[in-house]
Subunit: 246 residues, 2 copies
């Protein structure tokens, strides 16, 4: 028995998120079907991140076990041949049988994109949140510092989360302008439910002048969801990828 | 009676191109329906460029005539409210009643995008042609010079074209690398049927080493379609926009 690791990119637009659901097309179910078809036996993946409907990924991670002799690095191409074009295996390799994608020390990076302008360009509509307003990117940059480090991020966690602890570490949080898009890029050891979309909403409030950079520390300390900004829509969110310590 | 000019952006993925057709959804038909609904009377646009199925635009141009008192610059928002999100009016203004979008001196710019890599990222799949091969961008840059100026581009015109003349002027042709995408950007006074996709296919052949930069002048002189490269797929093509002399 071997454990194969997949780095998975997808456009989440036409899916009900990652996690398998009855009667709904999800990334996980389509992936399971493709791998089961390749191996000729029912095979289930274990995913690292259960992204929501409409969220994109360049590097989600999943593993599955098999007895196949297909070389690990060839699995990507063989599975891609059985997947629709909106899901692609970027890379495949072999890991220890006890390697679990949700039980490893890792650095995980997300991007959130916001377009400012008079209209949303149609080719950006599925991958970027839109606002008519210009954002004050310098103020947003100043607001980032307060998030860095280990904090209790209860104020940035959606109701209904099943996390045991709301303590997480953010290693990096940056805001950059790319053309008429504002890109928020955050790296941490893990994120609470909707945490990135709430951080993006809070930074957007700063960009709109509704909140000040110096308000951030107090919002984090409050542990109160109502103090933070709105949860921005799923479509602006991209799971960039995972880096594992080993 | 007034003539209103629209600058139109769209994602052509779900349309059978610009031009109105029986029983098919086209950009033109959806635009006509939205404007007719706004004005309460059947109204038809005249488009500048009849783009093919799957081609994108940031700035196609269309005009329509009306008696409405809605200020010209407010038309964009009023029409957008009646359009699907994959078509957006970027700007609207008023022009002379004899101003015709296909009978004006203009500079027209297209972009063609080619992604090189091990897999096509799902979020790029609708807007960029994909190849497993790396392209020699320096060779492609060298190949551009031969195209500049007024030439008979018969070698770069698809069969079935109804153009009276195959002479066109190219003002600028540039190749640039943006991440793992190669972007070909061309500006001319007009383009023959499939001309930009054939130029892109010919430059791609140069990038793949199948043709040399110094072959370009001879291919143009040959006036022979079989000497030029393949017609690349529609989805990599974006009509960037028009500049009019007045």
């Amino acid at each position: 028995m071997r454990r194969i690791r997949l780095y998975v990119a997808y456009d989440g637009t036409d899916y009900h998120g990652w996690q398998i659901q009855k009667n709904s097309k999800t990334i996980e179910s389509v992936l399971n079907a493709a791998i089961s078809d390749l191996l000729g036996t029912e095979t289930l993946v274990i995913g690292a991140s259960r992204t929501d409907a409409g969220v994109q990924a360049r590097g989600n991670v999943a593993v599955f076990d098999c007895d196949s002799r297909i070389p690990a690095e060839k699995m990507a191409g063989a599975i891609n041949a059985r997947l629709p074009e909106d899901i692609r295996i970027v890379k495949s390799d072999e890991v220890d049988l006890n390697w679990h994608p949700r039980k490893q020390d890792c650095r995980k990076t997300y991007e959130y994109r916001i377009t400012s302008g008079k209209v949303q360009l149609p080719t950006k509509r599925l991958y970027s949140h839109f606002t008519y307003n210009n954002l004050n990117v310098n103020a947003m940059k100043k607001a980032c510092a307060a998030f860095i480090g280990e904090h209790d991020f209860a104020a940035f966690c959606a109701a209904g989360s099943q996390a045991d602890s709301t303590i997480r570490t953010i290693y990096a949080l940056k805001v950059e302008k790319e053309g008429n898009e504002t890109v928020i890029r955050v790296t941490g050891n893990g994120f609470l439910y909707n945490m990135v979309r709430i951080i993006a909403g809070t930074l957007m409030d700063v960009g709109l002048g509704k909140k000040k950079p110096e308000d951030m520390a107090g919002i984090i300390r409050s542990l109160d969801r109502t103090q933070a900004g709105p949860t921005l829509p799923a479509k602006g969110l991209m799971l960039v990828g995972y880096e594992y310590d080993k």
